[in-house]
């Protein structure tokens, strides 16, 4: 119960920080996907399922506030969380920076791929042009800032692990 409350509090803090502060920053800084990166990092590097719940929670948050680029973000983020778990268990090492970066990048690309399909389908009933430059810019900068944030988190891993162990979010045993 305590673990649930603490991880929920941390999630709300991070998502509020992202939607309030980061999204108010000038371009391209507002693209930084803080909650998503923290979710992947928590799951992949620190073996905590809380990370997957955070990614799912981000989708619920975006739908609740209508802040997503497309409707049904909850479903997209839920599938992404499952994909991240699958990739983390089957393909990527939880020890290397490249493994975490690879999992995060593929999971993020999946979200953008679904968004792209949605825009493609919608554009059939729509005379508006699809802004490829804007969309590709969003994808590029999100991946760039994601890699940047993951690198920072990776090098602060020891400190983060000890803090999160204290908060009961990370299991005490090492490795999967």
């Amino acid at each position: 119960m305590i673990k649930f409350l603490i991880s929920t509090f941390l999630f709300f803090l991070l998502v509020t920080f992202e939607c309030g502060f980061i999204h108010s920053l000038p371009s391209p800084f507002f693209y930084a996907p803080l909650v998503f990166v923290c979710g992947v990092y928590l799951y992949q590097h620190l073996n905590s399922l809380v990370g997957a719940w955070w990614i799912f929670g981000l989708g619920v948050w975006l739908d609740f506030w209508h802040l997503g680029l497309v409707p049904f973000e909850t479903i997209i983020y839920a599938i992404t969380a499952l994909l991240m778990i699958f990739l983390g268990q089957r393909f990527f090492s939880n020890r290397s920076l490249y493994g975490i970066a690879g999992n995060a990048t593929l999971s993020l690309l999946f979200i953008h791929f679904v968004h792209l399909i949605y825009f493609f389908v919608v554009s059939f009933n729509d005379s508006l042009p699809f802004l490829w430059f804007s969309f590709l810019g969003l994808v590029f900068w999100q991946i760039f800032f994601q890699l940047f944030l993951i690198t920072i988190l990776f090098f602060l891993a020891r400190k983060i692990r000890s803090v999160l162990k204290g908060l009961l979010i990370v299991p005490n045993h090492e490795g999967l």
């Binding site: 939607c19 980061i22 108010s24 000038p26 209508h66 997503g68 802004l131």
Partner: protein
Amino acid sequence: MVEKPFSWAGTEINSVWKKWFPKTSAILDCSTSGSEVLAALAIDRSEFENLKIENENLRQQLDFFKRESFKYVSADIISRSVSTTEAAFVIDRGSDDGLYQGLAVIVADGHLIGKITSVSTKTSIVQPILGRGAKTAVSLLGVSRTLGISEGSGGSLLSLRFIPQDEVVAINNLVVTSGLEKTIPSGLVVGVITGVQKDPAAPFQTATIEPLVDIGQNNNVSVIIVDFGL
């Protein structure tokens, strides 16, 4: 509201950033003046300029409401979507403050920036006029008062559609709300015409509108409440 200080801090940084790295004007070369005192003075000056702009913005909003005798509610932006031009932002006023769906959200001297799409008791969700598919009934300010519909495409420009071929649309014409939407008063500034696309085979011509304000640099907005006399 927990989000307010975060949003305020982000918007301030955004304003400072855009002042330091303006899009169109030349950037001053400060590379030779490397002293810390100059840097500190520059930051002070930037903060001062920011406060001045915020003050000016609020004054303009107040003057606008005095002039137009609209009922309005001031609000702060507390949350934004991943892009400033797509999707939505959240303000800290809701149905408890008399807001309802469809109301116009403005900044500065009556510049329309969005419409309320959803309301809860304490907060409201606003779709920017630049958001993909956001439609607004507008007219051109000038002799003809041409009517049309502006539509956001998710970028930084709007399209003005359904202008009859025989209407004269010129670059730099001011575009304002037409008043055909019952929740949005007429005369709110939407932007200026920056391009006209005329296809003789098509029944209508299309124009491009550039908004005159940047949502990213505004943290305070006002919502115009239309009184139906009920």
